[in-house]
Symmetry: C2
Subunit: 273 residues, 2 copies
C-alpha cells in the first residue's frame, strides 16, 4: 500500500524542501503541512516551537505517514532529537544534511551559517558540524530581516540587495569561510542575492536539495521506496489563509497545487507531547 | 570503545573512496583492504567476485568493524544486497550514492554511466536510478581500457587523451545526457580528461565523494559516529605487492600511509559464504 511522506514547516519556506523532495523522489506521495498562521517560528521560545511542532506531527501521524521530514530549521533545531526518539518512523531534519554537504565541499574547514535567531541561538549547526569534525570553524549569523522579506515576495531589486548587503556585512568582514549554509528554508529564494554579495568563491549550500538527497537514502536504507511509478497526488495543508498559501505554492511549483484544506491544529489531539 | 570502519576494494581504486571518507569523517578509523593480487574484478564472473568479496569481508569482520564500505563498483553490483541481508552492521556500496547524486543534479533526467564490463553488464546503475525514478533514461558504456591505464599511472598526456576520446565516443554521439556517473573508483583519477572530452555542460559525479557523504549519514543515523576527536591511525592491507601498494597510496594521500601488512585471503575463513 502506498504510504505518504509527511513534511512540516512553520509556513511556506518548507515548500522549497518539498519541491526538491518531489523532484528527486517523483514516485513518492507527500503531505505538506505549513503552520502559516503562527509563522515565523524563528523568534519564538523553544517551548512554543516544540508544542506547535508536536501538534503538526500528530496531525500527520493520523495520515499514516512512513517518514517525517522537518523542513524548518528552527523546528529541527529544537525538536529533531526528541522526534527521532519518540516516533517509530524515520525522521529527517534539514540541519544535518546541510552540515554534511558543507563538510563535503569545504576545503578550508571554515563554514558559515546564516539562519533565524532561534536556529543560530540553538547552536544546532555548529554542533552538527563539530560532531563530525571537531576541527571545523563555524561563523554563524542570525539574519532576522530575511524571512519577512521573502514572505513579502521581495526577492530581487535594489531594496532587497541593500537588505542582504547590510545583513551579511558582519559575516563578510570575517572573510575566511569558503562555504555558506543557507540555514533557513526561506533563503534559497534569495540564493542569488546571497551568492552575489558573498562572492563567487563561496560555495552556497541549499538545505532543501541536500535534505531531499538524504531522504532518498533513508527511504532506500529502510526499504521504504515506493515501487509504484504512477503519478502521485500530493496534499498541502495550511493553518492560515488558503488562498494566500495557494498563490505562493502555485508560484513555486511547475504544476498547480491540487489539494489544499485548512486545518485547525488546536483541534488536533496532541497525546504524544 | 573506538571501532573501525572497513573499506574493501579490488585493488587501489578504492583508495579514492577511502581518501574522501577520511577527509569527510576525520575522527573515524579506517581499515582498508585491497585485493590487488586478483585485480581487476571487472572482467571476472559474478561467482568469482562474490567469493573474493566474502573473503575480504570475513577478514574485516574479525577486526570488529562497525560499518562496511564496498568501495568497488563491480563488487557492489554483485554482492551489496547479499551483504546487507547477511551482516548485522550497516553496509554501503558505491553505486546508490552515485545514483542519488546524479538524480539530485540532473535537470533533463538523462544520465550517463561509465564503468567496467562487470558493472555495466550487471545493470546495477540503471536499476538503482530507475528504482527511484522510473522516467530516467540511462546511457551506459563499459570502458575496459580505463582501469589498466590508471593502474599504469597514465593519467595525463596525449596518449591518455586519445584513449579517453576513443573510448567515450559512443557515449558522446548520444549527446543528450546532462550528467555522467563515474561508475568505477579508478575513474576519478582521470576525471579531468573525461570532463574535457564530454564538455563542461556535463556534470561529472565521482562516487567517492558521494559515498563518503552517505557513509557519514548512515553513521549518524545509527548513532555510530566516533566522539573521540584524537587523530585516528588507519590500517591498509593488500593481497598483492606491499611496496607497489605503498607507492600508489602515498602518492594519493597527503600524509604517508603508515601501516601496511600483507594478508593472504585464502588462509582466511569464509564461513559466512
Amino acid at each position: 500500500m502506498t504510504k505518504p511522506i509527511g513534511v512540516i514547516d512553520s509556513g511556506v519556506g518548507g515548500l522549497t524542501v518539498a519541491r526538491e523532495l518531489m523532484r528527486q523522489l517523483p514516485q513518492e506521495t507527500f503531505i505538506y503541512l505549513g503552520d502559516t498562521l503562527r509563522c515565523p517560528y524563528g523568534p519564538r521560545s523553544e517551548q512554543e516551537v516544540r508544542a506547535f511542532t508536536w501538534q503538526m506531527v500528530n496531525f500527520l501521524l493520523e495520515k499514516n505517514i512512513k517518514m517525517l521530514v522537518v523542513a524548518c530549521n528552527t523546528a529541527t533545531a529544537y525538536t529533531l532529537n526528541e522526534l527521532q526518539e519518540k516516533l517509530s518512523i524515520p525522521v529527517i531534519g534539514v540541519i544535518e544534511p546541510g552540515a554534511r554537504a558543507a563538510i563535503k565541499v569545504s576545503q578550508n574547514k571554515r563554514i558559515g551559517v546564516i539562519g533565524t535567531e532561534g536556529t543560530i541561538r540553538s547552536r544546532a549547526y555548529p554542533n552538527a558540524l563539530k560532531s563530525i569534525d571537531s576541527s571545523i570553524r563555524v561563523n554563524d549569523l542570525a539574519c532576522p530581516p530575511f524571512v519577512p522579506m521573502v514572505e513579502e515576495g521581495m526577492l530581487t531589486g535594489p531594496e532587497a540587495e541593500g537588505v542582504v548587503e547590510r545583513t551579511l556585512s558582519p559575516l563578510k568582514k570575517m572573510n575566511h569561510i569558503d562555504t555558506l549554509i543557507l540555514g533557513c528554508t526561506h533563503y534559497p529564494l534569495i540564493k542569488d542575492l546571497v551568492q552575489n554579495e558573498m562572492g563567487s568563491h563561496i560555495q552556497v549550500i541549499s538545505s532543501g536539495e541536500e535534505t531531499a538527497r538524504e531522504a532518498s537514502l533513508i527511504l532506500a536504507y529502510n526499504n521504504l521506496l515506493e515501487k509504484n511509478a504512477e503519478a502521485p497526488v500530493h496534499e498541502f495543508y495550511t493553518t492560515g489563509d488558503m488562498e494566500k498559501f495557494r498563490l505562493v505554492a502555485n508560484s513555486w511549483f511547475d504544476e498547480p497545487v491540487r489539494i489544499l484544506r485548512p486545518v485547525e491544529l488546536h483541534h488536533v489531539q496532541s497525546s504524544a507531547m
